[in-house]
């Protein structure tokens, strides 16, 4: 059908053909083939191609190719193996005797087109190679689309998962809300409630009722706008926001417990009010502005200061940007004021203490504080304070400081400051002068190294430690000056503190006391000498008094005893002279001792019952002979209102009066001496009494009135010569009166007379004991009840003391030394010990100490001593002695001391008895006697008198029996007393006297029991006798 293709058409249909001849030489090829492989005509087929398929059955020969017609032949370019393959078939042309290879290039990737530089038009139009390429490309594009969609889907899926999670989280949001959330329908039914709201929907809860009442009321009225409610529920406050959702026909209720918020708000309001009040009342002008310079707060003082005619609260919100300009006229440097404000506002950093001078001469201090909140500027506060007074004070303080600085310099006070290592940090000129160093030398040095002596190291250490502890002190030390000279300084050291209140050093004020030190040394030496002198004097006085007193003791004692014996008139006269001389000598010694005591401040007053009547009587008796001799009249007068029950030191009072009366008589040649006691005041517990001694003597010159009270002074030396005396008497008297709270006053007229007087207060004695005075004490024979141990080695003194004691019936034992004292104490008990100080073996001091410290006895001990100085007295008391009696002593003095120390022991015993008797109706009874007398009163009287006379004799007999251990005597006396005790019915001792009789008659009598019974018997009998005298005076 097709006759022939033209070559051109052939090439259009097979643009890739290859024609080979029998020799396998390429005859020609299609244009598109040669576009791929270049010119291949005339080349051997086998040089250009190789068989790919079939590969085994075919070989490069014309015959083999002929056999392989009508099958697919795949060739590959040898030049571009793999890349260039062709698919086609061999067709043999018999007419031409050649073979055509009709093919298309096998292209699977559109990129290969470009590689072979092929266009679509290089292919035959019917060739579908390019269409296939496009299909392949389309598939790739679709695949890409699908992959893209798949990616997007995956992405969306992931997003969806995430979103689901978010939705789930969001859904939990209301549940997690700690505040109640509710959804209710229009009828108020709860559609939803989160956990926090569950409590609120418990309708039975009474606390919730008011809450729901408010909500329901609000729901009834609610429209489309949200409603904000505040509900009080018990003590809690809730805020409820009801949000209507009309299209859903329900309401969301958001509830918040605002109890704390409300409380905080209230507190905030309170705080704000207080703050406002504080600022308003501050003594400073305060202005607070916001970041736009609008006023937030201003106080009255600010308005006043800047002459603003408005109230502070009206200023809120006012723009202050032009305020500086408006106020500058108030300031001396108005432009500077404006400029500084601009600068401060620009910098926005706190500024304190800007000084501003007003035209009124007032000075202001200004502070600026910017306010930042989260680093954001929120405004600022101005504070103006009038510091005019402070500045003025500071200026005047500066002047004062300067003044004192000059004073310090003038005072020559050396000031330095040192650090804790004692390095000098500041020096004042006077210190340089004091030490000889220049300021620089001191500043370069260490205080201790420069100035300290080695032997003062401890002082410096101690002082430095004190400073470190913050303590000030004043001390003395010596320092070494630059020249090596030692100087004594008194240093006042004080710590110096830094701003943190830590001690950083010390300030020392130094005063040169070298001169004073020198004087001090001299004074100490002088004092030592004086002390030695005084000591020597005291020793002298003590020795003198001892040496004189010992013989005096014997002289006076013996004189008294002798006086009690039978003497003829002449003997008595001589004895009187001896006694007078001895008394005078004793008076002199006593004056000296008193003086010594007064000088040493050892004058002590005792207190016991005193009878002014007795004192005055004694004065009369004592001075009567002398007065009689000088024909002077002694008159005494006691105010009847003066109490007879007074307490005081009667002996000291007597001493004063004796002295005054003695002087009065001494200086009176004729006339009288009158002694008076007048009551001035009578108080509940005491009386003020004026004592006076007036004479008609020589009188005293007025100018000498003061001198006569001075020690060792009399009116003038002629007096001494004429009248004698030590000049101590008045001085001692004055001291005694002063110690009693009085003062001796003297009125005198020369040649007319003198009056010495003094006023003292004496206590009243409330309870007057039946026996309270030594004299009475002895008179009442209490001596017989007491037992004294006398420790004395001197035989004469032994004789003297025992004689006195015996005379008063006092029982005693003698001990020659301290050891014997202790032995005696071991054997029996005593009421008191009279203890001589100087004894062999064991002296009085050691014995007293032993009694107190070892035996632990509290028996009263009275020292008997010739050493009667104040120092001695102190030693005796230290050794444990209760009192002392200076030798020589008088009988009365001895008994006074004994009485003072044992009165309680004896009196208590007596009071017991007395009380017992007082509790009984009667001590004794006359019923039996009166019955016998049958009305004969004389008989009764005789019986009573006989009892009164005989019984003491019997008692004395018993005493003697006890003293001599004569039991027969005791038995006899007690036996004799028995009938009278029975007949008088003295019940208290009827048995006692029988006990004494029985005991004394026994084979082995107990002396101690007898003594005890006797004490009781004696006390009762004495009372009976006394009672008889008082009650039955008629019988006397």
């Amino acid at each position: 059908m097709i006759k022939e293709f033209t070559e051109e058409n052939f090439k259009k249909i097979f643009p890739f053909y290859v024609c080979i001849d029998k020799n396998l030489k390429i005859v020609n090829a299609g244009p598109s083939m040669e576009k791929i492989l270049g010119k291949i005509s005339d080349r051997s087929f086998s040089d250009v191609f190789k068989f790919v398929r079939p590969s085994l059955t075919i070989d490069m020969s014309f015959e083999s190719i002929l056999v392989h017609q009508d099958i697919v032949i795949i060739l590959e370019s040898l030049e571009f193996p793999l890349l260039t393959r062709f698919r086609g078939q061999f067709i043999y042309q018999e007419s031409e005797e050649n073979i055509l290879y009709l093919n298309s290039p096998w292209i699977t990737d559109v990129v290969d087109l470009g590689f072979h530089n092929l266009l679509i038009s290089d292919f035959a139009i019917h060739d579908t190679i390019t269409d296939n390429l496009q299909l392949l490309q389309s598939k790739q594009i679709v695949n890409e689309d699908i992959r893209k969609i798949a990616d997007e889907l995956r992405l969306q899926r992931d997003e969806l998962i995430e979103k689901n999670k978010t939705i789930a989280e969001l859904a939990a949001f209301p549940e997690q809300n700690p505040e109640p959330i509710l959804r209710v329908n229009c009828q108020g039914d709860v559609l939803y409630a989160n956990k926090a709201a569950e409590k609120l929907i418990q309708e039975n809860d009474t606390l919730n009722k008011p809450f729901w009442d408010v909500i329901k009321t609000a729901l009834e009225k609610i429209g489309t706008e949200l409603v904000n409610l505040e509900v009080q529920c018990g003590e809690e406050t809730f805020q409820a926001i009801i949000v209507p959702i009309p299209d859903k026909k329900y309401h969301n209720i958001y509830i918040k417990n605002t109890t704390d918020t409300v409380r905080y708000q209230n507190e905030l309001i309170d705080t704000s009010t207080r703050l406002y009040s504080l600022i308003n009342n501050m003594n400073s002008a305060v202005l607070a502005e916001d970041e736009h310079r609008k006023i937030i707060l201003v106080n009255q003082m600010f308005c006043d200061l800047f002459q603003i005619p408005a109230l502070p609260e009206q200023m809120n919100g006012v723009d202050c940007s032009g305020a500086a300009e408006q106020s500058k006229h108030l300031f001396k440097d108005g432009e500077g004021f404006v400029r500084r404000i601009d600068e401060v506002l620009k910098n926005r950093v706190p500024v304190f203490g800007d000084l501003l001078h007003l035209k009124t001469d007032r000075i202001l201090e200004r502070d600026y504080v910017p306010v930042f909140e989260n680093k954001q500027y929120k405004g600022h506060i101005w504070k103006y304070q009038d510091i005019t007074e402070i500045v003025k004070n500071k200026e005047s303080l500066g002047k004062v400081e300067e003044k004192y600085r000059k004073i310090i310099e003038n005072l020559k006070l050396g000031l330095i400051e040192v650090d804790l290592e004692e390095n000098i940090t500041k020096v004042y000129p006077a210190f340089c002068e004091m030490t000889g160093y220049t300021e620089q030398e001191l500043m370069d040095g260490n205080a201790r190294k420069l100035l300290g002596f080695v032997d003062e190291e401890k002082t410096f250490d101690k002082q430095n430690n004190l400073r470190k502890e913050g303590q000030s002190s004043v001390y003395e030390t010596k320092i070494r000056t630059k020249s090596g000279e030692a100087k004594w300084l008194i240093i006042s050291g004080a710590p110096i503190y830094n701003d943190q209140n830590e001690v950083v050093g010390s300030l020392g004020i130094h005063v040169d006391i070298s001169e004073r030190k020198k004087l001090e040394q001299e004074l100490i030496q002088a004092k030592d000498i004086a002390v030695s002198s005084v000591k020597a004097k005291e020793v002298f006085i003590a020795n003198m008094s001892h040496e004189i007193r010992t013989p005096m003791n014997v002289i006076i004692g013996m004189t008294e005893l002798l006086n009690d014996s039978l003497l003829n008139k002449e003997q008595r006269k001589y004895l009187s002279a001896v006694k007078t001389s001895a008394d005078n000598l004793l008076g002199l010694i006593n004056d000296i001792l008193d003086f010594s005591k007064i000088e040493a401040g050892h004058l002590e007053l005792e207190e016991f019952k005193l009878h002014i009547q007795d004192i005055f009587e004694n004065l009369e008796v004592s001075f009567e002979p002398k007065a009689h001799e000088k024909k002077i009249l002694i008159q005494t007068e006691i105010d009847p209102k003066v109490s007879i029950n007074l307490l005081g030191d009667g002996y000291k009072l007597n001493q004063v009066l004796v002295n005054l009366v003695n002087n009065a008589i001494k200086f009176t040649e004729n006339g009288s001496v009158s002694i008076k006691a007048s009551l001035l005041d009578d108080f509940e517990n005491e009386q003020r009494i004026k004592f006076s001694v007036a004479d008609t003597g020589i009188g005293i010159n007025p100018e000498n009135l003061e001198a006569i009270f001075q020690m060792f002074k009399q009116e003038d030396s002629s007096i001494t010569r004429r009248y004698g005396g030590t000049g101590l008497g008045l001085s001692i008297s004055q001291s005694i009166v002063e110690s009693m709270g009085g003062n001796i006053d003297v009125k005198s007229e020369k040649n007319v007379g003198s009056e010495f007087s003094f006023v003292i207060s004496l206590k009243k004695e409330n309870i007057a004991p039946s026996v309270s005075e030594p004299k009475e004490f002895m008179k009442e024979k209490y001596g017989e009840m007491i037992n004294i141990l006398v420790a004395e080695d001197n035989e004469l003194n032994q004789l003297l003391i025992t004689s006195i004691l015996e005379k008063e019936g006092v029982q005693y034992d003698l001990a020659d030394d301290g050891k014997v004292v202790l032995e005696k104490l071991n054997e029996k008990s005593y009421h008191l010990i009279l203890m001589d100080i100087q004894m062999p073996y064991m002296d009085g001091m050691a014995t007293a100490k032993y009694i107190r410290q070892t035996l632990n006895l509290d028996i009263p001990i009275i020292a008997l001593t010739a050493n009667a100085s104040p120092e001695d007295e102190a030693k005796y008391k230290e050794a444990g002695m209760n009192d002392y009696i200076a030798k020589p002593f008088k009988r009365e003095e001895l008994f006074t001391k004994i009485y003072l120390h044992i009165k309680n022991q004896v009196m208590n015993k007596n009071e017991e008895t007395t009380n017992e008797n007082l509790n009984a109706h009667e001590l004794y009874s006359l019923v039996n006697i009166e019955a016998i007398s049958q009305g004969d009163q004389q008989f009764v009287k005789t019986i009573v008198e006989t009892f009164k006379t005989n019984t003491p004799n019997y008692l004395e007999e018993i005493v003697k029996g006890i003293q001599n251990s004569d039991f027969a005597k005791i038995k006899h006396a007690s036996h004799q007393m028995k009938p009278s005790f029975d007949i008088l019915e003295i019940e208290k001792v009827r048995q006692t006297v029988r006990d004494i009789e029985t005991e004394s008659a026994s084979a082995n009598p107990n002396m101690e029991k007898i003594k005890q019974d006797f004490e009781h018997l004696n006390a009762v009998v004495l009372l009976v006798i006394k009672h008889m005298e008082m009650t039955f005076n008629d019988y006397k």
């Binding site: 559109v110 990129v111 087109l113 470009g114 092929l118 266009l119 679509i120 038009s121 139009i125 390019t130 269409d131 390429l133 496009q134 299909l135 490309q137 389309s138 594009i141 679709v142 689309d145 699908i146 969609i149 997007e152």
Partner: protein, 182 residues
């Protein structure tokens, strides 16, 4: 039209105006599809709706949208997806234009649901051709303008293109005169 066309419109809008604008266009056009498959056939109306919506959203004339779309189709869609095939279309603008009718003939077989336009090229001389465009669809004249300008741009060839005539009928027939300028 095949999805690849709508993809091209989407690409043009997203690349030049952003995803948001594309979403707006989709919303305005009321088109539900969010993805277009390249070789899946979609109703022509979709493409026209997209063009109309783009015109409104982007405040451009429809002609401008179509022109831009045509140019984008060549320079972006064709270049990206059929780059090597496009190159195989010719070594220069004229050669490519000459092959244009064959190109569309082949496509019809490849994409059986495609109703591709037909082109006829009359070469008046080496610098001037007359292009006949026949299509079952109307209103794509400016798309063709854009396409041809895209092809010229691909070969860096400046051209002057003029619509000589438009003949509505069973097939829309536009005749263009294209001059290649040196």
């Amino acid at each position: 039209m095949y999805g690849i066309v709508n993809q091209a419109i989407q690409g043009l809008v997203v690349e030049n105006y952003g995803q948001e604008k594309w979403n707006e266009i989709l919303q305005l056009s009321g088109i539900q599809e969010t993805h277009f498959i390249s070789n899946e056939s979609y109703e022509d109306g979709i493409t026209f709706e997209l063009v109309a919506a783009a015109s409104e959203i982007l405040q451009l004339k429809q002609e401008d949208v179509l022109f831009a779309f045509g140019e984008y189709w060549i320079l972006n869609t064709g270049h990206q997806k059929y780059g090597e095939l496009m190159k195989a279309g010719g070594n220069d603008f004229l050669e490519f234009m000459k092959n244009l009718p064959n190109f569309h003939g082949r496509i019809m077989l490849i994409y059986p649901k495609l109703c591709p336009p037909e082109f006829l090229v009359e070469v008046e001389n080496e610098k001037k051709i007359k292009l006949h465009y026949y299509s079952a669809r109307s209103g794509l004249t400016y798309f063709v303008f854009g396409l041809i300008h895209g092809i010229a741009a691909m070969f860096h060839q400046s051209i002057k293109m003029e619509l000589l005539s438009s003949e509505p009928g069973v097939s829309w027939h536009d005749t263009f005169l294209i001059e290649m300028i040196d």
